[in-house]
Symmetry: C2
């Protein structure tokens, strides 16, 4: 598990000065760079390496995005895909049942026949990036109200996406960059037949558990291998990464290609304070609440524990990340740095005539924060899988009556396949867990709005939250994907005549949900326009060589493999297999520090000194989990799986003083396959 | 662990109709009765038993109150005291260290010499109850402002307590009953030399763990035995309970004598809604936050897990109890019942000329709820042991400059011994845990007030919460009780000249703390006066035979030993040793369901059919933990340790349809001492 999965993160107890709003100039090896705008000059002057367009194209096409939130790469001509165990965990859990707990105990397909098909994975391979900024902006005029502008922009984006999909057959997403300063069209080849080949035990993938999460030195084999299929056969892959013989040298420049989820380096101080005082405390209360709920649920026995584990892992990871992020923002010196940087920029705006029209951007953002604070927690808060399914079906039926470009974004034609892939997934849904979660969500909504609130009373329907949730889940048939498909096919009539209690509930709250969403999109549009203006100020102040905030699209980061100093101690760049066993012994009796039996049995067989993990200074964040780490020759040398505590301020700023990304060493994966898992055949395919 | 420790509790998923504001008439075997006002007529007519004054006096003096929050009884002439393991847990933890974990592994003193002295226990034995209502009320006139009235009342209470202590040498507490309708003086003999004699392993005391908490059937030996000493010798005890040979029969009437903590059966619906929508959600967020923090801390290794366990136990227990309580209040039918009952009472007030002057009481309470909601979370929130110590020292130094009757209540002369017993306790304080807790509390305060808040900035002193907490705890010497004693002796000068960072912090926040407390006491006084008026209405409406809400003072409850129906199944009144082993087997592989080795070894030795636990209908709540259950002949037949889920609405209402209090059977304790713990000598002393 790691900071780098889905959620962006930041930890903070750093005393190092960090550059906030440094979107500006390149600070050391900072940056999550666009593949169509790599910092070639910087790489050449600083590192003596100039990537060619062919180099970039080859790397781009060797990369894979996990739509559930993670990164990966092709590592063989016959479709093997390498990612983290914790990125795969959701799928591993869905493939597990009360007899085979692959998420915990691992899996190895002895032959291709026995590879296990994932119920709802969609993998994306980026093919092409096109700048469509002008096309998108043509649709918006200066005199449009924010809501109209947002609507016009959404419609135009859908047109572009649909046309591109129709023309190419590729998944086509328009991505908003620089907070609205640019729009690029990303086109992907999709793989939806994805099969599990190998996963190690959770005991080595997440060795050290929550206690070691975000720590370094580490000793984890946080890796899993899938294979993509086309037409029932292993896909033939043209672009894949070769496997490095020995991995990286110390101080060697390496590259990380992956999909960082979201950064907020452009945020104004008002936006940062909104995060600090309003949004993050709210999210953390929710996270802790869900964590406690899932743990309590898991006390009901080993099977319940297994069922709750996937969500619990993610929740605990997010909690640790958000707590760090919040701790950083609460540091008076961090905020003072941000305020000083902003003040400097504002002075530049005031003193530069052609920038003065943008001065109001900061105030607009401040106003939006106030509105957001008022709205927080006032919506329909029910975060539950079964309820979401009902809500999607209800909304889809209404939206499908409109032309694609006027629909809510997720129901537009261009994303329909991906939507249905999730909505009709055969992944198991466990009623008991659904009940516990829904009861707690109804209770939470009653707490925040007050139980006498009209909407709450409608939701409760005369019952307490636990009884009401039980009635809703037990009475619903939406757990069955075939029922969902049938309801979806039936359109608005099927919805109106449905007696499914969850669909009825979704109908009750639909007006409120839509009204809230409208306001929230309006506020988003105001922010988008304001940040686009601030981007222009930053371009003007610092030149064009800046990278945009992360958007869960492919980016290139880089930096040398190098250790750091901490509390007066030198932390080495690499760890090895001997350290792994020593780490187990040093934490005897501690939860999550027992290596799996396979590793105890292989002790002595794995060559001594085999490298396990390493750190480098590449600028990464949540979403980068599973990213390949490659050398200049595009050989795979590592697999990103975490950032250390000191790196986690990355949501707001980059630092390479102590901040490091943490990777599994390529040798560790190969030798583990050979000596621990008796998977010589698989090991032989790596990079071939 | 149990619902009955410290916190009062309520669970709720009950569909049974419950009587709210039923303070009124006796409903079945409802009631937590005053020992000086027992429901003799009811007992006689319903159960054919009339307790004599001697009977009541004997039972009263056989009871013991644990000031940390729990009940107990004398069970031998040589000072043996029986309570729950979970009441003793705080002391067991304080006596444990990294070598001997008595809290987990149990303890048996092989001889009196090896009994272990508790660092800060104070046990109270009630001697006398006197009605002092008139004396207290003389001090208050109708034209006084609430703040003045509260002050006058506090001063008079201190005078009464001090005079009573001076005269008798007993601990003397004036207790507010019927929300201010009556004041009684309770006088206790104190025991402060309390030694641990025997505790079983946590594995049997808390068998089934959090999963089984609030459940029935149960199989726990939630018991621990202490001995009180006087002048270094085992105390000679005149009033103690005999040990029943066989325990209670099914349907036999039994009595529970203990100290229920707090009930709120008099609450108006506005007050209930304040609990539901404002106070409980706030408390639960705090509880979950602390739970997650303590768990994360415990991941640092076995010793850290041990250190955090005591607080974690209490927190998890409270969470489950509060969640149930809240779930009950969120049930529309529960609130509707309360509203109907209140409406009826209000109609009575309007139609009865002599009651009309009290009609405004409900509005006053409603106003107070609004004020409380505004204040919630706006104070100095730092809930941390080390900070509390600093704060007590700072406040004590200021308060001691005033005459006793004008001081904040806890610093008055009459309670000084008990205050110092806690303040100078030699119980270990663990800096690492203190740091983690303090950092989180500072962060919490910043979240609620916003980190830019002036007071927060003063508290942070330029650092993030984690670094600041580290500086405060590492720089403070208050962990050493001798340092505390020295600072206390030095008075106000020692405080002013102290360079202890925690004392400095306590000084920074002192004005705010005092101002908040003043407002909160004012609001409390308004409520007190209003509830006193409502009590008068209830007396008028229902006659005088009513019991007051619980006040952590000795009360008598009663009811037959009897099972109940649940989900169509008959739940028997008793469980036995065979069920204990079956319960372990039925939950194989589940956390907290492994019996200790001693029990496995004793299997076959303990007589088959030995009763373990039983249920009865007695009306109990948090604070009753450890209460003796006795028969008409005042023989000990059981030891209260929990209430089942259905009983936990008791904070607001009593129900005997399914609600049951859960006890350890007296036989279980005796046979366990004999056959599991090889403690024949101790077993022979029971009841002798």
């Amino acid at each position: 598990m790691s900071a780098l999965y889905k959620r962006c993160c930041l930890l903070s107890f750093l005393l190092v000065a960090v550059s906030i709003n440094s979107l500006s100039k390149i600070n050391a090896d900072e940056g999550m760079w666009l593949f169509n705008d790599l910092p070639k000059d910087y790489l050449k002057s600083k590192h003596g390496f100039e990537p060619t367009d062919e180099w970039a194209d080859k790397l781009m096409k060797s990369c894979v995005r996990f739509n559930v939130g993670g990164s990966a790469s092709f590592i063989s001509s016959n479709g093997l895909v390498l990612t983290n165990h914790h990125v795969a965990f959701d799928t591993l859990s869905k493939l597990s049942n009360d007899e085979n707990n692959y998420a915990k105990d691992g899996f190895l397909a002895k032959s291709m026949d026995s590879e296990l098909k994932a119920p709802d994975l969609e993998l994306n391979q980026l093919q092409k990036i096109t700048d469509v900024t002008d096309k998108v902006n043509e649709s918006v005029t200066a005199d449009m109200a924010p809501a109209d502008a947002a609507k016009a922009r959404r419609a135009r984006i859908d047109e572009i996406q649909t046309a591109a999909t129709d023309e190419s057959g590729l998944r086509s997403d328009v991505v908003t960059l620089y907070g609205g300063g640019k729009y690029h069209l990303y086109q992907y080849k999709k793989y939806t037949d994805v099969r599990l080949v190998w996963a190690p035990e959770a005991g080595i993938a997440f060795f050290g558990g929550d206690a070691d999460n975000f720590e370094y030195p580490r000793f984890n084999l946080d890796a899993t291998i899938f294979r993509v299929y086309e037409d029932g056969m292993p896909a033939k892959i043209e672009h894949f990464l070769k496997w490095s013989e020995n991995g990286p040298d110390e101080n060697e420049l390496v590259f990380v290609a992956g999909n960082p989820g979201r950064t907020s380096r452009i945020f104004t101080t008002d936006a940062l304070k909104h995060q600090r005082d309003t949004r993050m405390p709210y999210i953390l209360d929710f996270i802790r609440r869900r964590e406690v709920l899932l743990q309590q649920f898991g006390l009901g026995g080993p099977e319940k524990e297994r069922i709750a584990k996937d969500q619990l892992f993610g929740i605990q990871n997010s909690r640790k990340a958000y707590m760090g992020m919040l701790g950083g923002l609460q540091d008076p010196s961090v905020m003072a740095t941000a305020e000083a940087a902003e003040q400097k920029l504002l002075e530049k705006v005031k003193s530069t005539p052609e920038l003065q029209e943008y001065a109001s951007a900061w105030d607009k953002i401040a106003d939006v924060q106030k509105r957001k604070a008022e709205m927080q927690g006032q919506g329909v808060l029910i975060s539950s899988r079964m309820f979401s399914i009902a809500q999607e079906l209800v909304q889809m039926a209404t939206e499908d009556q409109k032309p694609s470009s006027e629909r809510l974004r997720e129901f537009q034609d261009s994303g329909r396949d991906s939507l249905e892939q999730q909505l009709f997934s055969s992944a198991p849904i466990y009623p008991e867990l659904q009940q516990a979660v829904l009861a707690d969500e109804i209770a939470r909504m009653c707490e925040i709005r007050g139980a006498d609130d009209e909407l709450c009373q409608k939701i409760l329907a005369g019952k307490n939250p636990i009884d009401r949730a039980s009635e809703l889940i037990m009475g619903s048939k939406l757990g069955d994907p075939e029922v969902r498909r049938k309801v979806a096919t039936g359109g608005i009539e099927a919805i109106k005549s449905s007696d499914d209690p969850l669909i009825k509930l979704a109908l009750i709250v639909d007006d409120k949900v839509r009204a809230d969403r409208k306001v929230s999109e309006e506020l988003g549009e105001i922010e988008k326009q304001a940040y686009a203006q601030i981007s222009k100020v930053l371009f003007a102040a610092n030149g064009t060589s800046v990278y945009p905030d992360a958007t869960f699209t492919l980016r290139l980061a880089f930096g040398p493999v190098t250790g750091y100093e901490e509390k007066g101690k030198s932390i080495p760049a690499f760890t090895d297999i001997d350290g792994t066993f020593a780490h187990e012994e040093g934490h005897a009796g501690q939860k999550d520090f027992d290596l799996p039996e396979t590793w105890a049995a292989a002790r002595g067989k794995i060559p001594g000194g085999t490298k396990m993990n390493f750190v480098c200074t590449a600028d990464i964040i949540g979403g980068n989990s599973g990213s390949p780490v490659v050398n200049k020759d595009l050989e795979l040398v590592g697999l990103i799986f975490d950032g250390n505590i000191q790196s986690l301020i990355a949501d707001y700023a980059y630092t390479d003083k102590q901040g490091r990304s943490v990777s599994v060493h390529s040798n560790a994966i190969r030798e583990a396959l050979r000596y621990v898992y008796d998977a010589e055949t698989l090991a032989d395919q790596l990079g071939k």
